[in-house]
């Protein structure tokens, strides 16, 4: 297969993360293109016709398509090509020159190869399915994920249900509860196995409370009945360990079971490259430049960890794009000097999530290179983290050895609400002096710890 074209940076996926990455790469002088398997850019935002997008980025309440449109405009203005309806079959990295070869397929050009100095994976996420949460019973039509229901309603213009039960209180499920109600369908209730809702508080209020849709916590679907189409589901309460409590079963007649039980980052395309993955996030381990463990391969957006706000997705895309451009350029310049020299090695420190910290992204810091997202604050890096538990009055402490880098109090932290902080890396460089690498493994670590003053606290029913 001949190489069709060479690029500094190829971005995989034209969702909000990919669009932001391409814009940033282009603004940093890179020759960049985006590849997208769907017809239109925008990723999953195309079907999110509700509002609430862009409060941080644009200071406005935009709908998903509007948000995507703004980014698409910026891409078009820069003349960045979006190679759409094009599927990435696989990626390999050439060990000698460090370049990536992307094997592509589409109708117009059949199969071809693109070459890239740096690659940004912005492949988004997929929904966890009924089978992955072990739904049992019959297997009729009418069991679908909230995202699929969203596509059928918002893009295709059809109702997949007249009366449904929603399992899981993830944001897409909440949004769909409202959407289906507005379309005249009845949502019998939203059932959540955990004692806490997993969606954003604002969505609980605006999508359920305002529409008088009941939210049942510590309850789940035990079985589905129906030969051809869903006829009913059996609901039951669960105890603290998530086990059904006998005697609490209740049969709810309905024609659909809609699931909103979690999102899984999609990284199947980069996993074969041997990229190190984070079991907690389901995405690749990245440094503050959004570079994965493989030099030249960057990742951003929901492919790295599932974000609850698209604004943060764009932010990570911007970082990845800028850093990818920088990497490509470095590589190019080095290439001019001598074919054999590569980019200077990274000096990576691991960041360990401790205490109640569920995960923190990035999981590593590169002390040798720092690109920085915003031009104004080049020394700063953004971190995103989630708490493992709900806690009132929590304390975040980030330390390198004995040195405290950051301490911050939170009135409340909840697993569904992601937190963002910035760290000034100038401090770090000072602490982690060049002999850092000579330190024994344990001390070469940054610890990000979340401790709570009161755990659990008042239960979740304050949400309605």
């Amino acid at each position: 297969m001949p190489v069709k074209k060479q690029w500094d940076v190829v971005v995989i996926g034209a969702g909000p993360a990919g669009l932001a990455a391409a814009i940033a790469a282009c603004d940093s002088g890179a020759d960049v293109c985006i590849i997208e398997r769907e017809k239109k850019p925008g990723g999953v935002l195309k079907q999110c016709i509700h509002d609430g997008f862009g409060l941080i980025r644009f200071g406005e309440r935009l709908s998903g398509p509007e948000y995507a449109y703004r980014y698409h405009q910026m891409v078009s203005e820069r003349g960045i090509p979006v190679i759409s309806e094009t599927y990435l079959l696989g990626i390999t990295k050439n060990q000698t020159d460090g370049k990536f070869l992307l094997q592509m397929q589409n109708s117009a050009d059949s199969i071809f190869i693109l070459e890239a100095r740096a690659v940004v994976a912005a492949t988004g996420c997929r929904e966890r399915t009924a089978r992955q949460v072990f739904i049992h019973g019959d297997r009729p039509a009418g069991i679908l994920t909230a995202g699929t229901a969203q596509y059928i309603v918002n893009i295709q213009g059809f109702l997949p249900t007249r009366r449904c039960v929603i399992l899981g209180s993830g944001d897409i499920g909440l949004i769909m509860a409202r959407r289906l109600t507005l379309e005249g369908a009845e949502v019998e209730g939203v059932y959540e196995i955990k004692p806490e809702p997993s969606g954003l508080t604002r969505n609980i209020q605006q999508c359920l409370t305002d529409f008088e849709i009941p939210l049942h916590l510590s309850a789940t679907v035990l079985a589905v009945h129906g030969k051809r189409r869903v006829e009913s589901v059996v609901i039951g309460k669960v105890d603290q360990s998530g086990q059904p409590i006998t005697g609490t079963e209740r049969t709810v007649p309905c024609d659909a079971l809609i699931l909103s039980v979690g999102l899984i980052p999609e990284n199947e395309i980069i996993e074969p490259l041997g990229v190190e993955m984070d079991r907690k996030t389901g995405g690749p381990i990245v440094d503050q430049n959004m570079m994965t463990s493989l030099d030249g391969l960057f990742a951003c957006g929901n492919a790295v960890h599932v974000n609850d706000l698209v604004d943060y997705v764009s932010e990570s895309g911007q970082t990845a794009g800028k850093a990818a451009a920088a990497y490509a350029n470095v590589q190019q310049q080095r290439g001019l000097l001598s074919e054999r020299r590569t980019v200077s090695a990274r000096r990576l420190i691991n960041i360990q999530a401790a205490g109640n910290m569920h995960y923190i992204v990035p999981q590593r810091l590169d002390l040798a290179h720092h690109v920085g997202a915003d031009d104004g604050a080049d020394n700063c890096a953004a971190f995103y983290f989630r708490s493992r538990v709900r806690a009132n009055s929590a304390l975040l402490r980030i330390s390198a050895g004995k040195t405290l880098l950051e301490e911050r109090r939170y009135a409340v932290v909840r697993p569904p609400e992601m937190e963002r902080i910035t760290l000034n890396l100038a401090d770090l460089n000072h602490i982690c002096s060049p002999d850092w690498n000579d330190l024994p493994g344990q001390s070469r670590l940054i610890k990000a710890e979340l401790v709570s003053v009161s755990e659990g606290g008042d239960s979740a029913n304050d949400n309605g």
Partner: protein
Amino acid sequence: MAEGLAAVRSALMRKNLNVDANEWRNSVALTGHVSSWEQYMEAGYAAAGKGYEAVVNDLTVEGVVPFKPSMPEPQNPIDPDTYFDAVVIGGGVIGSAIARELTRWDITVALLEKENDLAMQTSSRNDGMVHPPFAVTPGSKKAHYNQRGNKMFAQTARELGVSLEWPGMLMLFSNPWQRAFLPAIWQRIKQNEVCGVEFWNRQRVFKMEPNITADQHGGVFLPDSGIVSPYQLTVAFGENAVQNGATVLLNTVVTGFQMEHNRITHVCTNRGLIQAGVVINAAGVWSDVVAGYANDRFFTIHGRKGTAAILDRKVGHTQRTILSQPRFASHSHTKGGGLVPTIDGNLLLGPTAVEVPEREDYSTNASALEFVFDHHLKLNKSLKRSDIITYFSGVRACTFEEDFVIKTSDYVANLVHAAGIQSPGLASSPAIAQDVALLAVKALAAVAGRAIQPNAAFDPCRKAPPDLRGMSLEERAALIRRNPSYGRIICRCECISEGEILNTIHSLVPVQSLDGIKRRARAGMGRCQGGFCTPLLLEIMAREQQINIAEICKSGGHSEIALQPTKNAAVDCASEGAGSAALALSAANNSRRQEDYNAG
């Protein structure tokens, strides 16, 4: 036979079952009432093997209402003058293979299937293994057909253009003392003529399967163990039959026969009468019921459910062979199951074996899945529960004799049974089809009073659609240049193109449902389980069949995915682009763009 009856009665008495046993033709028939399904089963087995051809178990069971086959939605009627020389009932792997075999003869053939596609029942709900004839009882019909079928598989698959691989099966010893079974194993191997068997010690096992559990003590390797896609094989049999002149009638259920003397004249269906020369009963779990329509129910089928789980293709590479850990000592009625690589690169765990009164009960439950995990997941130590992408159940059609029923009826001159085809029915299918077709042609010749000539135009090779997975990149590129629809990927997880989906819609046995597309083309079979491609498949089907999206079904009957259009048209950003979609107002304000939606 009176001795047999006494033996049956005393066996029932020993089990404390208040059941009456009487002779019916060459069978023994049980009547009475029992309190549980376990007792029903116990009685049936107690009566089996006492000198009768088969057991007719007519016991009623407390709390169990006899289940009936699911019926298709109303269909257009068949021309009342319709006649076929041979009518095959049941479009599973057995019926489809028989239909194809019959087209070797110069006769008219119809294949009747009550579901809306071939392979909707057991033939799409199994392990997809071409078993070596090891676990089958020596001397049984099962053993005979398993041996022959296994040997015929390579050629059959080649002719039909169906992928087949021979990873071999490794039966592991979980205890050092299990090696004591080796002499018995060797004897079985000799009796059943299992070829190429090797004993592997612990080191050899580790060398071949590095991810295997440490808890093993060597094993027996059976190289003639194959894997195939059972539904693709069934459809391929059906397509090749149609190519050679057969007619496939889907959504067509047989509800009875019209008889004259001891001969079927007409097959009664939901679509009217069909005149038939000879009738073949390949109705799977309902084969005893169909036999009963001709007053020839001399055996009883009971359903034995099996549940299996499918793991992500990501972990498919962690294992080469089919791994199993049989319980050598027990008399369980399953081939033991195990960890089976599938032809599409996934791993399959299972199946279980549980007796169920309902024969179309494809539901799953947590305990069956736990059983599968507990028994099989640990064999390969690189596997995790979270690698599961789906699970399913199938129901085996078993007789109390635990053997196939393959014969021309003793009482109905033009009825041939291919019944009770439980495991290894798939592995045996080419051989069963060969014999059943010959029996049918003989019966037809006798009732029609004429010699049946071979079909000179018969072509055993199916005109198979291109298999993109098996192609090199260059070949695939050339194919896409000829037909660009092969370039457009619809199912992202399994990398299935629009062209492959169109092939199922325009097949010689056209697909009618999303599940049909899923099984035949694999669209929706991957890790997202159709989350992304279901809406796209709806659009393609609506376009190709010129129907509304709301008419498209998941499987048969009323299993539509989309029920009705939304109040207002949807925001068609897919075809209008993000620009116009940006005009969309928030749903919270309940104001939407008024725009005609466009299903295409």
